[in-house]
């Protein structure tokens, strides 16, 4: 099983600030996904990046996949209290029998203070 390191583990910022969350691995993934999880709920997919160097934008969120497909970053511009949650990156790897499974990072717990 490949490992994904996320940093920082905890982040507390003021509303309006910018932030970046990092997801790093020594292994190559066929794709990488970012999820947001709110307390007491399941993770919700934000984006999937597939191509090395790919950049995707989702309103104030910008996702980048490293050229070598080993790392990814999530940048949030002008954070809002509604962005508060646990951000998880997950890499896609084949688990055999034609199916794929995700390896999750430990997550970044973001708190945006009004």
């Amino acid at each position: 099983t490949q490992l994904l390191e996320q940093s920082p583990q905890f982040l507390s910022i003021q509303e309006g600030e910018n932030l970046t969350v990092y997801c790093n691995s020594s292994s190559v993934f066929s794709s990488l996904q970012w999820y947001r999880q709110e307390p007491g709920e399941g993770p919700v997919l934000l984006v999937t990046v597939v191509t090395g160097g790919e950049v995707k934008k989702l309103k104030r969120l910008t996702f980048q996949f490293g050229d070598a497909r080993k790392d990814s970053s999530l940048h949030i511009t002008a954070a809002q209290p509604g962005d508060t949650g646990l951000y998880l990156c997950a890499g896609d790897e084949e688990s055999g029998a034609g199916s794929y499974q995700l390896t999750f990072g430990k997550g970044t717990k973001l708190s945006v203070i009004p």
Partner: protein, 114 residues
């Protein structure tokens, strides 16, 4: 709306008393997963089904069993819950295809062991 449903949302059981958690999906996805998530940790894969093929993670305790009677339903059985099994249990589905097979998560069942 197509979705992943988990019942119950909250489950309380006694130490050693068997418990079953259920998951259903209307997405008609081939793959169903069960994860265990403890507080402030990443989801940990317990096992998954590709159609009827069962795949157990090497470190999943024997205390955990699963059944998938048909495409739509999957069950997690904990034969003798211990205090350390208290966690959020997440069910997820995916098409199982390569290169960005997103997983769709249910809201989770929070298990308390007394």
């Amino acid at each position: 709306d197509a979705m992943v449903i988990q019942n119950p949302r909250y489950q309380v059981t006694q130490f050693g008393k068997p418990v079953t958690l259920s998951c259903s999906q209307t997405l008609n996805h081939n793959v169903m997963y069960w994860y265990q998530q403890k507080s402030s940790q990443a989801p940990k894969l317990l096992f998954h089904y590709y159609d009827k093929d069962f795949n157990n993670e090497a470190d999943t305790p024997d205390n955990f069993q699963s059944r998938r009677p048909n495409t739509s339903f999957c069950f997690l059985d904990i034969r003798s819950p211990g205090l350390g099994d208290a966690a959020m249990y997440l069910c997820a589905t995916s098409t199982g295809l390569a290169g960005g097979s997103e997983q769709f998560f249910g809201p989770g069942t929070r298990l308390t062991v007394l």
